[in-house]
Amino acid sequence: MSEAGFFTTRLDEAVGWARKFSIFQYPFVTACCGMEYMATACSHYDVDRFGAGLPRFSPRQADVLFVVGTISHKMAPVLKRIYDQMAEPKWVVAFGVCTCTGGFYDNYATVMGIDTIIPVDVYIPGCPPRPEYVLDGLMKLQVKIQEHGVSGARSAPESRPAELVR
């Protein structure tokens, strides 16, 4: 291993470590899941322990987009716009089964999973997910952030398997 490689990896690790404990999230709260989001964020479950306690209400200052709740087709352009406004590096968490797959609202009004519009890093299913699930998802996200590195491009989100695309 070359000298430079050694330093880069160390630097990567340090930056990753710093990043994963200073998550500035943008909560894009639309629906019922927002209640559980609130419960997670408040003192009882306390996401601050994971360094994610400070929501930023401007997408330009946030690194992680929490999409919380059903996204309807009317809302979809707004979500996309907010995602585009965020600066790199950015991550997206799909909170609740509605954002993961559309849930049981398989009808004319709703988007069947936000990964059809924007890439998603962590899926937290559940309707709504319990706060414990959310914390688990957050830890998974931290692992992902840690692996991200300084220079490396973000790992492209996997596209949906063909058989799931109708």
Partner: protein, 453 residues
């Protein structure tokens, strides 16, 4: 100046121009997704246009495609801060359609859970409203109290938020053991929090200044807009479905309907605070009066028997009184170890889903469950249409159900209480300052799932 008049520029003065401000649909001070387009003169709101529908999820269309019991999970997600009231409202509408009456104990349970839900809803509304005015600690306290109540809800229903607890013809399970004690404890804690919040807010200078006198609406206007619930009571009209068209067993309890006088945000805050107190009163009375469920334990031995043993007994033909046994389910089905359900479900066996102990424990229960959930079987109310109103946390929550005699509803319509209030929002905001949008919107307690369905 008359706020509805466009300001004219006076000669010699700098010209005044109106400004359009777009708030939402994703805005930090809006705990919901709506868009307000406000026309401003300086800081004064001249006119507003409100756009909703960002959370339209097709509830009414989905309800036509599933069977009657299948609508239950969708109703949870209408007003997701007080899902149990929606459950109760929908069930009672279908029961009215069927002409079915449920046991006394079930009514009491429904009242208890509805009132607990009402408290959680008001807690969230007041807490979030206060947070948006900068009182973050109140929000944390209120969520703490809500957490106690949600634990209670979880104890009864098995879920925190999306409960699907009611069934057409009853409720899913009886109140668990130790419920009463825990309930009293939770209410005690809630009272403490309310006291704290009261001390922090009611005489707080900033809070009072921002709340009183803003978002005013007169009683006539409110009635004309179809506003109900705490919002209407803030304007001095004592209309409460629980008092005026009592359902379940609400006519047996003593409680007051608080009303305001001025119809502003501050009055509505006071009404909500007092209503929580009244809800606690109702729950306490209901806990005192609730009749025991008729079926409790094995009448001979008085001891609960494991489900497997019960099945064995049944196989050996010893079935006398077997449905009265209290079966204890295998721990792998944790949470299912509840007593038999005679006291909480209607006598009409073709309507309600059986208790899980029955479904797993004996063939009759299994068949009953199977017959009710299979496509083409299930509840089939007679042809007809009914409207049933209950008092939701935001006002009158009505369900209008049309049946064509098949296994799924022909049309289910919800009368969403906050829809009417949102329709009056332009009226509430005009003439106020732009900063008053936040407290006014907070006091509406707009819930997206209910507003847009």
């Amino acid at each position: 100046m008359d706020p509805t008049q466009t300001p004219k520029s006076i000669p010699g003065e700098p010209e005044t121009r109106e400004m359009l401000l777009n708030v939402g649909p994703a805005h930090p001070s809006m705990h919901g997704i709506i868009r307000i387009i406000a026309k401003l003169d300086g800081e004064q709101v001249l006119d507003t246009d409100v756009e909703i529908g960002f959370l339209h999820r097709g509830f009414e269309k989905m309800a036509e495609t599933v069977d009657y019991n299948g609508v239950m999970p969708y109703t949870d997600r209408l007003n997701y801060v007080s899902p149990l009231i929606n459950n109760v409202g929908y069930c009672m509408a279908v029961e009215k359609l069927l002409g079915l009456s449920v046991p006394e104990r079930c009514h009491y349970i429904r009242v208890i859970v509805s009132e607990i839900s009402r408290i959680t809803d008001h807690l969230t509304c007041v807490g979030a409203g206060a947070m948006e005015l900068g009182a973050f600690s109140v929000f944390l306290y209120m969520i703490k109290a809500r957490e106690f109540l949600w634990e209670l809800v979880e104890m009864v229903t098995g879920a925190r938020l999306t409960v699907s607890y009611c069934r057409v013809g009853g409720v899913k399970g009886d109140l668990p053991e130790g419920f009463e004690a825990q309930c009293r404890h939770a209410l005690q804690e809630t009272r403490k929090v309310l006291k704290e919040a009261d001390a922090l807010l009611t005489r707080n200078r900033i809070f009072v200044d921002r709340m009183s006198g803003t978002g005013k609406i007169s009683a006539e206007d409110a009635i004309s807009y179809g506003i109900t619930g705490p919002f209407l009571r803030g304007s001095g009209v004592a209309y409460d479905v629980r008092k005026d068209c009592p359902y379940a067993v609400y006519d047996r309890f003593e409680f007051d309907v608080p009303v305001g006088t001025r119809g502003d945000n501050y009055d509505r805050y006071l009404v909500r605070m007092e209503e929580m107190e009244q809800s606690i009163r109702i729950v306490e009375q209901a806990l005192r009066d609730i009749p025991p469920g008729p079926v409790l334990a094995n009448p001979e031995t008085g001891r609960p028997i494991p489900a497997a043993e019960m099945v064995d007994e049944g196989k050996m033909g010893r079935i006398a009184g077997i449905v009265d046994h209290r079966a204890v389910i295998d721990p792998t089905l944790e949470g299912a170890a509840k007593s038999q359900h005679g006291g909480i479900e209607a006598g009409e066996k073709r309507v309600f889903l059986p208790a899980k102990e029955d479904t797993y424990g004996n063939i009759e229960g299994l068949m009953q469950h199977f017959k009710l959930v299979m496509y083409g079987h299930g509840i089939r109310p007679p042809k007809g249409e009914v409207y049933f109103p209950v008092e939701g946390a935001n006002g009158e929550l009505g369900f209008y159900v049309v049946s064509d005699g098949t296994g799924s509803a022909y049309r289910v319509r919800v009368r969403p209480p906050c829809f009417a209030i949102m329709a009056a929002l332009p009226k509430l905001l005009v003439g106020d300052m732009i900063a008053d949008i936040t407290p006014t919107f907070g006091s509406i307690n707009m819930i997206g799932g209910e507003l847009d369905r």
